[in-house]
Symmetry: D2
Subunit: 284 residues, 4 copies
């Protein structure tokens, strides 16, 4: 298991940024393992992810803030420090379609997703058996038109109680309220079963089939107030033909959804995604 | 060079269709080389493409209509007979972007597209040199807001004069009138530089870039009265990332456009595309 | 659930084959749902898969052999009749890597693979829990250099006892004996973790990494006596870069393996694969 | 047109490298536009590409060597400085297959390849017309078993006379001598029409067809003494099926070859490829 620190930075682009960061890290004897940066010319932004070995790093992490803070302030950096040894805590929301849930649970079990999953919340009891097989606590919270605020209050209480860091909507077929979303900025990942922006909203496979497309897709994105409009994290497509009926589209699409969602979750856990405006940089 | 006949059929699905066609061909000693069929359950349609060697076929083609006609009528078949020895005549419309034109001309030269290209029409003189390199007649017809009907009249006169069978819009940046389109049903192929239905209309690369998509695409389709809404023939996508700026999208997209358009043209020439409703079957 | 019959045919190509089959089916009032055919010019072979509704088919299946037999004999057809209502019985062999097993079990559970799985055989006990979660009988048969013949005897006894129709090697890390293989011609499907014929044999990811390839792949194929040399059913690749270390290759490859193996299993179950020489036709 | 400098560095990985380079650039007021780095754990190597605007850079390039040299020496850096304003000079070698040549010439014309092409050398006169269309000097040098040394001497004399920086073998069907290759280390790019290491050597499409693969590929690589064994730059594949005969493979493959070769050429021109051992890092 790696014992590393990951520093993510977004700030206005200007001269001397790389030198400032590199000198700070060198001054504390950091052994840099990975560094990625990007400059968005249009937005005049500098984005960086740098990961170093904590072995030999001579700055106590409790003093990181006070030491790096002034450097960050001088360059107007928004920054975040993460430790690879600290597993983020994930809650999965699911309805009846269970392919993404099964996929995430298997990957977690196999060590692909370095996180804790202390909680699965579903508006249906159907996937309880899967949660049990992987020994993950499962909570059934029914949602209807009438009880949505109460249901969300229960969900949020559970998220709080379990110290959840981020939420994955693994084909959760309910629309979350703006208020709920506002509490978890860039911390809710959704999978939409089309290549956005095509077929945003309901029944994308049906509409793709009706349109006669030759490719179907899936999109993982951060959830924002506007439905299916948040920053895109990953997309994939696969070929379909006249030989595929609607069921084939759904089945082929399920494989895309699994891959595209699990990649987003993995990148989020590994602190590889930086959001700016309505876009993402993925340092993969 | 092949000396074959290709029969394309669309009709209501019912028992006995394959037997009727197979018996007809066998009765005239046809050596079937390829046969493909599809049944659309939803629309209750049967679609077929069958190709046979004319060597040994004992029915004179001048008598095909009267011999096959009654069989077709009995099954309410829409049908079309094509001969692989007869090259269809293609006119290419182009504006200033010349990558699709250059690609089509090279493929034609290399023998990939078995057609005649007696005519290139452009609203700009810029691509004249390419037409010359490949020895294809080039006509410059300027188009403006004011002269569109006259320009289209000239274009149609040229298409008539050259006995054109089908038109390819190789990034032709003008919208054709409904009247023009109505004269060439399922005979105008367009390339749109996005994965439709996403980003239909103007400036798709700019909009894809602004939306932060992780895939860009291209779509070839038959032109109908509604812009970018005709039956899709082929689509392809390629991955993009934050490292790609708008120019990169345009350049990567150009490669998709070339492949997706040239495949559509090839399939059209080879009579592999059957249209029904707003969809296509491609017997590739 | 469909109640259909699927007839698969391979025979020398000659005139009248389609008519013979179509007339036979029409004579017994068959409603054809799908028909696919292929002619291999080089080998002069005709291959066909035809599926029809048994509702209304007026030939009792117990009399199919005697009725269709003479037609088949007249055209030297090798043929096979399958019923979509009869689930084939699959045994999965696995070692310690469990991603393909988990994937197959989930797909089976989700109804994607229309078969029975009465048996999992492993040379390690590690995957027992997965078998239990999906309620599939699990047999642990240790295999070593010394006991291979005995181990294979036990395996074959189990396959017999469970009436197994076909075997899937889901990353089973033992080489089966020629004798074992000979008992299940075209009935053992393997997944190899490279795009064959590149990196056949041991440690393909290591060798791919050492060679510096920019794509890694996976191949599903029928097992024949020559290692990794049987008829290829499906292949897929994914992009890798210098940013991917060996572990990344293994993890990205696992996703390919799952998709490529499960497609092969599905096609096999649906009688979509016809083998001729060392090649396959897949009527997908 | 950009007026930038690109510094490429390969050296043993150790602390302080990024700081050393960043401080050097900052000291001379460099505005960094792009920076990419990679650490190969296995080989303990650090690789970097950094590009900055020469506008405002206060170190005269004639003094770059003496100023940066000591820093480089202190860290055992192999380094190379390139200027985006200086177009490298490319010679294309071609035989009769002209699709890669046509593609490269078009892309060069369209501004995708920022280089000079003062020379095309062919062992056949067939592609002369293409060279003429794009106004590129064409030299026909016949090659036979008997005259190979003389032919290569002529070729090298032409490369010298035209101040050629790098050579692209655009389906040049002759094997170059070890001596020839030794004169242009990492400066000869070849396209091989298979996904290496599968089907290295002669007739890859025929062998792919005989093996019944479901994917065909193409590989661009630097040429080394061992045939088809040099560092891989890029690879791509496309799906084929039983419906594709050998000619289809050749035609589908040609599209791969064009894309894979032109990407390699573009990356080489843009100084995006770093070679270490038998691998490449592509900072795309």
């Amino acid at each position: 298991m790696r014992n590393t620190a990951i520093l993510s930075i977004v700030c206005p682009d200007r001269k001397g940024l790389v030198a400032a960061i590199a000198n700070f890290l060198l001054a504390h004897n950091a052994n840099i393992l990975h560094a990625d940066q990007h400059q968005d010319r249009e937005a005049n932004l500098f984005l960086m992810r740098v990961e170093w070995d904590l072995e030999g790093f001579d700055l106590g992490l409790h003093r990181f803030d006070e030491t790096f803070g002034p450097i960050a302030a001088a360059h107007q950096m928004q920054w975040r420090l993460a430790l690879s040894s600290v597993k983020p805590r994930l809650a999965i929301f699911v309805s009846k379609y269970d392919h993404c849930l099964a996929d995430l649970l298997y990957r977690h079990h196999a060590g692909e997703l370095y996180c804790e999953i202390p909680l699965i919340i579903s508006n249906h009891p159907d996937t309880h058996w899967l949660a049990e097989a992987y020994k993950i606590p499962f909570q059934h919270i029914a949602v209807s038109k009438d009880n949505k605020p109460e249901a969300e209050a229960k969900q949020r209480a559970l998220l709080d109680a379990h110290g959840i860091d981020f939420v994955v909507l693994a084909r959760y077929m309910q629309v979350l309220s703006a208020d709920f979303i506002a509490h978890y900025p860039q911390r809710i990942i959704n999978i939409h079963h089309s290549f956005l922006p095509a077929f945003h909203g309901a029944k994308p496979y049906q509409r793709a089939f009706a349109r006669g497309v030759k490719l179907i897709g899936a999109t993982s994105h951060y959830v924002t107030e506007v439905l299916d409009d948040g920053p895109i994290i990953d997309q994939a497509v696969t070929r379909v033909s006249h030989r595929d009926d609607l069921d084939d589209l759904v089945q082929k699409g399920a494989d895309l959804e699994k891959v595209v969602l699990s990649r987003a979750v993995k990148w989020h856990i590994d602190n590889r995604i930086l959001v700016y405006g309505n876009k993402t940089v993925v340092f993969d």
